[in-house]
């Protein structure tokens, strides 16, 4: 057993060693390590291109091999990619393989190594991996030109939404580098101190001129350089949509599609996508010159089925769509031709047309569209080459447009274009009687009937209405009916009929014939039935009217009214079983009163007025205010009246009036309420609810107060327009009383004056009889009779009452008295003034009898003494010194005394003198002023005044005031008059 075990072990060991030997021999025989590995770069595609050979391959033998490739970046240990590449290898073959780098090759050194293994069935197991080739280093950086900053990849073309890695190489690590994509900073990953990479995910399409990405190197704030790239982002190529082909003539196939977005880029980086049409059965291909259609020539008549592939292609992508079809199923007919109409009459026509013949036994499906009167009808018909269709149920005198299109009936693909033509049907007689109404004006002896009718609708006119026939037939007396023809487009006519019943028939006529007649009967009785008017309220929609049904049979009702402002009679027919209707028309205007009359039509077609309604579609506020008169003005009241205000012509039913009163009083008068006006001021308001009450007595007013009043009507919509207030001022309470007193007084005075006038003679005689004239006196005649020539009647004018003669007489003694004032007195008193009471020579016409009047103002004592001496009153003279001057000397003395103010020279016997001289002597009131103000007595001698002074009054007080009175008497200004 042990021996067996030893044997067995030896066997296995031998086997194992044999096996080991075998493999070594194989490996030795086939050292399949890749050799001559060369790596090159392609900057445009950012790819590494590897080429190598495999030594020791059997001659003329192909072997399947697997190559494992490792790619490291920056350093060999940093493996970024490992992959297998399987291929068949021939003897002495140079193998090629490419790898595209995400990171631009310029930014990092790459290392590549490769190993292989046999993967061929002819070489059974075991297979071993060869050794790795040595690392092959690829560095593009070394080839960079001079510069401080480089950005890669340059001008790369990518599709929108793809991921791109960009990088920069900065020669100087001192520089701070910032990178931006379209002005927005991007942040990357530093690969080594000089290199930073940026992964841009899902890059967007910004513009077809490319996207700028740039980096700026700077130290501090100093820019050292700018470098960038343009990334060309292409839109994703879309699959062509709606690809289809069709033929119109079996010679050309016209293929169309929707190309979608154009992916062309600027800088010639990518042109617009190209389109190629490929037909698989024939194997033919055509490059399309247009981007959305292509024509394919049909060359073989036998080919019925086509398999088209449309290929869209740009630098980045290829897309295709496929259609498979039978040519006969893609027939797009040319539009029909020779469209025409035959046997056109009022309601029918035959339409004919032709289609282009495609082949024998070809059937078309055609569609006809008939447009007319705003309607459209559609008919389908199957034809061969010549089409024909009978159009019926047409409207007379109507223009129609008919058009037709066709398609292959056996394999419907699509309709052809339309071909159309217009035609007009012929006229027919109007189909309906015109709608007729009338208005009747009854006058003595006849009726004036105005007939109105509405034009027939196009549907019923069946052509152009040329005239209306009106036939008037007397129902009471057998007579010939009268026919009137009224040319269109008149819509009314006036008839004057006598007091008989008449039947009126109206027909509308066109070129073909007359319409059915519309019949109206005018009764002999005038239409003077009194019907009360009822007020109704309109709404936005119109007027809702209802009425009591007429007893007896009616064939219908008619409501008529007048349109404003055209004043055109309008009417509406209502059925016999209806007793209400809504009149709605756009013609209703707010603020206009509409009067509606409702008639019942009897079976005899006689209209009978049933009801009257009046109302506004919308009531408005009154348009004007009344003109208010103020009368009966008293101190406590006045009356306002506006009798001439018309309530009927207003844009609403007047409901009453508002009377506004403004006064200074805070409290409103009784019956008035406080109100605030639109301008914010307060006033009092009185409401009158009766529109016919057009006067108001405003009482309880204060006299002599100002009031402002304003009267405005109101409707349901509001008051009249704002206007100014009228001012009323109440008069004074007493003035009225005065009037009450003064008026009768004036009347009385007038009466008296009239009486006086009438009785003037009597009054004169009673109150002031005439003074008898002495010349006319009977005494005179008596005197004449006695013939006494000496006796005459004196004339008052002949009498000179008195005169003063002034006589100059020198007086030497006076000089001594004057003393020191000698010179003055000499000049002044050389001609003393003597006053005589003598008649002047001039005025004295001659010697004659004189009637003397006594001057009773002189003191009786003085006159009694018989002297005419003048004694001036000396202001300083004490009463005891005043004495009666009995001689001219005395008078002179007195004068001197006065002038010279001498003392103690008045004679003792003068104490009883109380005469005041008429002579005004110039004198100074003040003795001190005398020398400076000399007076000239001769010129001053003048008669001034004569007055008698009672003794007690003539005694002046010993004051200077007394002298003032003298000055007043002897004002020097008076002298030189």
């Amino acid at each position: 057993m042990a021996l067996f075990v030893v044997f067995q072990t030896t066997f296995f060991l031998t086997l194992l060693s044999l096996r080991t030997y075998q493999s070594e021999v194989l490996a030795e025989r086939l050292p399949l390590t890749p050799v001559s590995l060369k790596v090159s770069t392609n900057s445009i595609h950012q790819s590494l291109h590897l080429q190598w050979t495999v030594h020791n391959l059997p001659y003329h033998q192909e072997l399947k091999m697997v190559f494992q490739i490792q790619i490291s970046r920056i350093e060999t240990s940093n493996v970024v990619w490992v992959g297998n590449y399987s291929t068949t290898v021939k003897w002495n073959q140079v193998l090629h393989w490419s790898w595209e780098s995400e990171l631009p090759l310029e930014c990092a050194t790459h290392f590549v190594r490769i190993k292989s293994v046999m993967d061929d069935a002819s070489f059974p197991e075991p297979n071993f991996w060869s050794n790795w080739s040595s690392w092959e280093e690829v560095s593009v950086q070394d080839s960079l030109e001079k510069g401080i900053l480089f950005v890669f990849p340059k001008d790369k073309l990518v599709e929108e939404g793809s991921n791109v890695t960009i990088c920069y190489v900065s020669r100087n690590i001192q520089n701070n580098v910032s990178c931006y994509l379209e002005g927005k900073q991007i942040h990357g990953e530093q690969l080594d101190p000089h290199v930073t990479a940026f992964n841009l995910n899902s890059v967007p399409f910004i513009r077809n001129r490319g996207t700028n990405i740039y980096c700026e190197a700077s130290q501090g704030n100093v820019s050292k350089g700018i470098e960038g790239i343009v990334l060309f982002v292409s839109k994703v190529l879309e699959e062509p949509k709606d690809f289809s082909c069709e033929t119109q003539d079996f010679k050309t196939l016209h293929c169309t599609w929707d190309p979608g977005t154009d992916t062309a880029l600027g800088w010639s980086k990518q042109p617009s996508q190209s389109y190629t049409l490929f037909e698989s059965f024939s194997g033919e291909k055509k490059l399309c010159t247009h981007k959305n259609w292509c024509n394919w020539q049909i060359t073989q008549d036998s080919q019925e089925t086509y398999n088209f592939t449309l290929i869209a292609e740009n630098y980045l992508r290829k897309r295709s769509v496929n259609i498979l079809f039978n040519l006969t199923h893609r027939v797009y007919l040319m539009n029909p031709f020779n469209v025409d109409f035959e046997n056109v009459n009022a309601t029918n026509a035959i339409m004919t047309w032709k289609v282009h013949s495609m082949r024998n036994d070809f059937t078309c499906l055609c569609q006809i569209e008939l447009h007319g009167e705003g309607k459209m009808m559609q008919y389908d018909v199957s034809i061969k080459v010549n089409g024909e269709y009978f159009l019926s149920e047409l409207e007379p005198a109507t223009e129609y447009m008919a058009r037709v299109r066709c398609a292959d009936a056996s394999h419907f693909w699509k309709w052809s274009e339309w071909s159309g033509q217009n035609f007009t049907t012929l006229e027919a007689a109007p189909s309906e009687a015109p709608d007729v109404w009338r208005s009747v004006n009854s006058e003595p002896g006849n009726h004036t009937v105005t007939l109105f009718w509405k034009p027939l609708s196009k549907l019923h006119a069946n052509g152009k209405i040329l005239f209306y026939n009106v036939v008037v037939e007397n129902l009471d007396k057998p007579s010939r009916s009268e026919l009137r023809s009224i040319p269109a487009p008149a819509n009314s006519t006036k008839l004057i009929l006598d007091r008989c019943s008449y039947q009126i028939c109206v027909t509308a006529n066109n070129s073909v014939g007359a319409s059915p007649a519309s019949i109206i009967v005018i009764s002999a009785d005038p239409e003077n039935k009194e019907v009360e008017e009822e007020r109704i309220a309109g709404t936005d929609g119109g007027f809702s009217l209802s009425w009591k049904p007429q007893p007896g049979d009616v064939i219908g009702y008619v409501v008529d009214w007048c349109d404003h402002p055209q004043d055109v009679l309008q009417w509406k027919n209502v059925g016999p079983n209806t007793t209400s209707t809504v009149i709605s028309t756009d013609a209703f205007r707010p603020g206009v009163r509409y009067d509606f009359r409702i008639y019942g039509l009897s079976t005899k077609r006689i209209a009978c007025l049933l009801e009257k309604k009046t109302g506004y579609s919308q009531e408005l506020a009154p348009s004007d205010n009344p003109h208010v008169l103020v009368d009966m003005l008293t101190s406590h009241s006045f009356t306002l009246s506006w009798k001439d205000y018309s309530t009927e012509s207003q844009p609403g039913f007047i409901q009453g009036y508002h009377v506004y009163l403004k006064s200074k009083a805070r409290q409103c008068h009784p019956r008035f309420q406080k109100a605030v006006l639109s301008d914010g001021s307060e006033c009092c308001k009185y409401k009158i609810d009766n529109p016919e009450e057009k006067a108001l007595i405003v009482d309880n007013l204060k006299p002599e107060s100002s009031y402002e009043i304003f009267v405005t009507p109101f409707t349901s919509a509001g008051e009249g327009p704002n206007a100014t207030f009228t001012k009323v001022t109440t008069p004074d309470e007493h003035s009225s009383m005065l009037i009450h007193i003064l008026l009768p007084m004036v009347f009385c005075v007038l009466l008296i004056m009239i009486v006086c006038y009438l009785k003037s003679q009597w009054i004169k005689e009673t109150c002031y009889p005439d003074i008898p004239d002495p010349y006319k006196s009977s005494i005179l005649s008596l005197i004449k009779f006695k013939e006494n020539p000496h006796l005459t009647i004196m004339n008052v004018s002949d009498c000179i009452p008195d005169a003063i003669e002034v006589v100059s007489k020198p007086e030497g003694t006076k000089i001594q008295i004057l003393g020191t004032r000698k010179s003055l007195t000499e000049t002044e008193l050389t001609k003393p003034n003597y006053l005589y009471l003598l008649p002047t020579e001039k005025n004295h016409s001659g010697p004659g009898p004189c009637i003397c009047f006594e001057n009773f103002t002189y003191n009786q004592a003085a006159s009694d003494s018989g002297f005419c001496g003048h004694v001036p009153v000396s202001p300083k003279a004490p009463p005891s010194m005043l004495g009666l001057m009995t001689s001219p000397e005395n008078v002179l003395k007195a004068l001197e005394k006065n002038y010279m103010n001498s003392l103690g020279e008045v004679p003792a016997g003068e104490t009883s003198l109380n005469y005041v001289s008429q002579l005004a002597s110039p004198m100074s009131g003040d003795k001190d002023s005398l020398p400076t103000n000399p007076v000239e007595p001769p010129y001053c001698s003048e008669y001034k005044m004569q007055m008698a002074v009672p003794l007690r009054l003539a005694l002046p007080r010993p004051t200077e005031n007394s002298s003032l009175s003298s000055i007043t008497l002897l004002d020097p200004g008076e002298h030189y008059r």
Binding site: I226, E227, W267
Partner: protein, 202 residues
């Protein structure tokens, strides 16, 4: 461009076309100066229109990248003393060289833009007009140099080797530099010609 401007431009370009009659230096300087002044009015509008079509950051308000330069285009900036002490020949040669380069660059930018912005006739028209004016100014300068008896610059391809594979962003930058430098060189030409005008009064 309004019609009067066209006419004006035509008269300014006239000496370029009719080079038969000798023209005095003052007259030719005056004509060139007028054209340069006229050009100056439109340079900022060209730059703004250009930037507006390029997207961010170019179209951002206040965009400026003075560090961007083109090796094929001489910068217009110069030290004042150096510039002021240039003799007539140097001054005109520098300007002529710059505008020669500018005409070629403007054509390049217009080509670029007709590819990128085919739907922007305004920008393309403005670029075309700018190139025409630069050519007009070149002609005027040649007349001045002839009048002053200065040797003419041999016409050369200043653009040199163009990187046709330039990326879109690089082309946008290139266009920016060209339109910007066109403005700067026009400003400088106005100053140059003003100096000459003062030196050679009519």
């Amino acid at each position: 461009l309004p019609p009067p401007a066209h006419l004006c431009l035509l008269t300014l370009l006239l000496p370029l076309l009719s080079s038969a009659a000798p023209i005095s230096p003052a007259e030719s300087i005056s004509q060139a100066y007028s054209l340069a002044l006229y050009m100056q009015k439109n340079t900022s509008m060209l730059l703004q229109t250009y930037l507006q079509y390029q997207g961010s950051p170019f179209s951002d308000p206040g965009f400026s990248a003075p560090e961007l330069q083109l090796s094929s285009l001489p910068p217009a900036t110069a030290f004042f003393k150096t510039w002021r002490t240039l003799d007539d020949g140097e001054r005109l040669s520098l300007a002529q060289g710059a505008f020669l380069a500018l005409t070629q660059h403007l054509q390049l930018v217009r080509d670029d833009q007709s590819d990128l912005n085919p739907g922007s006739p305004i920008l393309l028209a403005q670029l075309g007009t700018a190139r025409l004016r630069a050519q007009g100014l070149l002609g005027n300068m040649a007349t001045i140099m002839t009048a002053l008896g200065l040797p003419m610059l041999p016409e050369e391809d200043t653009l040199g080797l163009v990187a046709f594979g330039a990326s879109a962003f690089e082309r946008k930058c290139r266009g920016y530099v060209v339109t910007r430098e066109y403005g700067h060189w026009t400003d400088r030409a106005v100053r140059d010609l003003a100096l000459l005008k003062a030196k050679y009064p009519a």
